[in-house]
């Protein structure tokens, strides 16, 4: 064990840990301010904000010899005998001057800056800056520049930490961003004709400690202190990035990645981040619809109310199983279902009849896996939970019948009825594929968006998107992660788990956590998740995973600027006139 002294307190660090002084001080509960350092990027020590006094303690005599000059904490390894002083007048004066120097060129247009509220420059100015600005510079409007499809650069707000430049060089690998000019004229830019357009560009907006890089998607949409973060899991590919939904007034404003060393590190791709229209799409299915058999030619759909509509669905399914036998009824478990929902639906199917055919829903595949320089991968398999659903299917009927096999069964006329759960955020089935289901005498489609299949259904049951439900997903490597709901379901739709729970005849509200406990007791694959899923997930295949250390400060293991300066009590308030004419909530 190495002993490091931070501001007079000794802390022990493991020999193989290779920490720098910022991380070591963080364990001692001392915050060293920094801009340019990021645990996922290389060290440049360019911002000079983290300068501290260091020295070495002689083990035998106990004598401490200090270095005459300040050194950057991000670049100094914390080794045995290192002595760090972070609160001396010399260190304070340096932090003071760095802050003042950064603000000389800064527009101070916080009122219109999207980063205000989670800006490190703002936070540090309160903690380490001067009380008033000595420079005679009036606030001005920053110059603005387009960097790519999702990124806008406010040139004058930049503090030249070069995090974004290093990100494109080391993580995404495209090297689109660069620093042009020198000294106080230095700016971030792209080469003409080579915009920042790769599929990880959104991350530079999170990395930027100030308001220089802003997401076009979120620009001017909402102030950060109004939004409430909800930990969730991205469902757009089988990597299953840990994400946070930022929600205000029941509207999803943005999605940011959450640090998870087992899945996505600090990053996420632009598909998961920006392509979330399905969550609040106006065409979302919003009531149980029933098409009577005699009006097949016309628009014969009629709305049914929830309890009766669901009873009718149950009645129709039971009737098919009773009339033509359980093996003529198929229940399709979508890979977009959470493990809990898949378990409840499979249990329900087996209560109708033990012979009911359970199948895996269509697994959408797009191209090939796309791996970036750091190893971050966008998987070709564009669904979150194939592995989890497969495990549940194996438990209930030994083998997995996949989508092509199910289609064959339908075409061969082996089936009379089907319950197809879907929940795909994009179009997933074409007319030709859906046409095969026309021969069924009962088709129930449980989906969130209208599709060719839903138009052929006898019953349409509205489900909810990932942002509206609790539950766990098992990613490509067997990592089970817990996602929490951030939005209430669209009007008329019920949470999928509640629907299955009602179909099963269970009383009361659906609680995903208790269903997971039940599932862990029944399906051995999930046994480790019986007591809940921690933030970084549990790997059910290998049985081991990394759990990030939570320190007293919690800033260094997860250095994304997320609501750090705002109290939670403040987040609970919402600024909205409750009147009917409110333009946001309608």
């Amino acid at each position: 064990m190495a002993t490091i002294t931070v501001d007079g307190n000794d802390i022990q660090v493991g020999d193989d840990e290779r920490l720098n002084v910022i991380q070591a001080a963080d364990r001692a509960g001392v915050a060293i301010p920094f801009y340019c350092w990021h645990p996922g990027l290389s060290v440049v020590a360019s911002c000079r904000m983290c300068l501290v006094e260091t020295g070495m303690k002689n083990k035998d005599t106990g004598e401490i010899s200090m270095m005459p000059k300040l050194v950057p904490a991000c670049q100094t390894p914390a080794k045995d005998g290192t002595v760090v002083v972070t609160n001396s007048p010399k260190v304070r004066a340096n932090q003071n001057f760095v802050q003042e120097g950064l603000l000389l060129d800064h527009p101070v247009d916080c009122p219109i800056c999207d980063k205000a509220g989670e800006c490190w420059l703002q936070d540090y100015y309160f903690s380490y800056g001067h009380q008033e600005r000595r420079a005679d510079v009036r606030p001005f409007t920053s110059r603005k520049r387009d960097l790519g499809e999702h990124v806008t650069l406010f040139v004058d707000r930049c503090v030249m930490c070069s995090r974004c430049v290093r990100f494109t060089q080391e993580v995404s690998g495209g090297s689109e961003l660069l620093v042009i000019d020198r000294g106080s004229h230095a700016e971030i830019d792209v080469f003409p004709g080579f915009p920042l357009d790769d599929q990880m560009s959104g991350n530079v907006n999170d990395l930027c400690p100030v308001g220089a890089l802003c997401s076009k998607d979120f620009l001017y949409q909402q102030r950060v202190w109004f939004m409430e973060p909800h930990d969730s899991v991205c469902t757009r590919c089988s990597t299953g990035c840990s994400i946070q939904l930022h929600v205000s007034q029941n509207q999803l404003y943005r999605i940011q990645p959450r640090y998870n060393p087992n899945a996505n590190d600090w990053w996420m791709c632009d598909i998961g981040r920006f392509e979330n229209e399905s969550v609040r799409a106006p065409e979302r299915l919003s009531s149980i619809e029933h098409r009577s058999a005699d009006s097949k030619t016309g628009a014969g759909f009629s709305n049914r109310l929830w309890p009766e509509g669901l009873k009718a669905v149950h009645g129709a399914l039971s009737e098919i199983a009773a009339r033509t036998g359980g093996s003529t009824l198929a229940v399709v478990l979508s890979p977009f279902l959470t493990c809990e929902e898949a378990y409840l639906l499979a249990t329900y199917a087996k209560t109708i009849s033990a012979d009911v055919v359970l199948a895996l829903g269509k697994v959408p595949v797009e191209g090939a896996d796309k791996t970036f320089k750091s190893g971050f991968t966008i998987r070709a398999e564009r669904c979150p939970n194939r592995l989890g659903v497969e495990q549940i299917l194996r438990h209930f009927q030994k083998s997995v019948i996949d989508w092509p096999a199910l289609l064959k069964k339908v075409e061969a006329g082996e089936l009379q009825g089907a319950y197809v759960s879907a929940g795909y955020p994009v179009a997933w089935i074409d007319e030709a594929e859906a046409a095969a289901f026309e021969r069924l005498s009962l088709l129930v489609v449980h989906d969130i968006l209208p599709s060719p299949l839903a138009r052929k259904a006898h019953y349409v049951v509205p489900g909810v998107s990932f942002a509206e439900k609790d539950g766990s997903y098992v990613n490509h490597s067997g990592l089970i992660q817990w996602g929490e709901w951030g939005l209430t379901p669209v009007e008329g739709a019920h949470v999928d788990g509640q629907t299955f729970s009602d179909l099963l005849g269970r009383k009361g509200l659906y609680q995903a956590a208790s269903v997971l406990k039940e599932l862990a007791g029944i399906v051995p694959f999930f046994a480790r998740a019986a007591d809940g899923v921690p933030q970084a997930g549990l790997n059910l295949v290998t049985g081991t995973e990394k759990h990030p250390r939570t320190t007293a400060l919690g800033t260094v293991t997860h250095p994304l600027p997320t609501f750090r300066s705002v109290g939670t009590a403040f987040l609970e308030t919402e600024a909205v006139s409750r009147n009917g004419s409110n333009p946001i909530s309608g």
Binding site: R138, S142, R143, K144, D156, A575, V576, S577, N582, P583
Partner: protein
């Protein structure tokens, strides 16, 4: 402040004399005042103010907290930069703003919609305290009426029209240019 502080001057209630304890003299005092007012009003010298024909006078209309207005800059554009600070400060959550990119070259952001629910508002004045560009101000208009709830939800156009109505009587408190306009000083590249 402690109860035994030197700064507090404690005053005892004066003891009532015999006349006071009889309650007859205060009664006569009070009735005579009523009678005086009665006869003065009967002679037409009353204190009743003929509202709304006769408007009450304010000591200083600039500090009265009545209906809101949205100020305009020299070019007649809304001064607000849609920073949401008034909505943040508002304890009644009556302000609702939708910000968007401004159509003007010298301004970055402006309110696409700015709605105040005047029925929700408690007229505390926190919004004008919070405003960094002096765009929202409370006027001395106090007799706010409407036939429906919808009518009392003021949108941007209505709030700007309140400015047009009141700008002569109550000048803007800050006459300086909007804080976020003009070219960046000291930037030559």
């Amino acid at each position: 402040m402690q109860p035994d502080s030197k700064q507090i001057k404690w005053v005892d209630e004066p003891k009532l004399g015999l006349a006071g304890r009889l309650y007859l003299t205060p009664l006569i005092d009070g009735l005579s005042l009523t009678a005086r007012h009665f006869f003065r009003t009967a002679r037409g010298e009353g204190f009743t103010r003929q509202f709304p024909e006769e408007r009450p006078l304010f000591g200083n209309p600039l500090i009265y907290r009545g209906v809101h207005r949205l100020n305009k800059d020299e070019q007649g554009r809304v001064k607000c930069v849609a920073c949401f600070l008034c909505a943040t400060a508002c304890p009644a959550h009556c302000i609702d703003i939708i910000g968007t990119e401004s159509p003007w070259a010298d301004r970055e952001k402006y309110p696409q919609s700015f709605v105040i629910d005047e029925l929700r508002c408690i007229f505390c004045g926190m919004c004008e305290e919070a405003c960094p560009v002096d765009a929202i101000e409370l006027t001395s208009l106090f007799d706010l009426t409407g036939a429906s709830r919808e009518e009392m939800v003021f949108d941007k156009e209505k709030l700007l029209s309140v400015y047009d109505q009141t700008c002569d009587l109550e000048p803007m408190r800050s006459r300086g240019p909007a804080a976020h306009s003009g070219p960046p000083p000291g930037k030559d590249h």
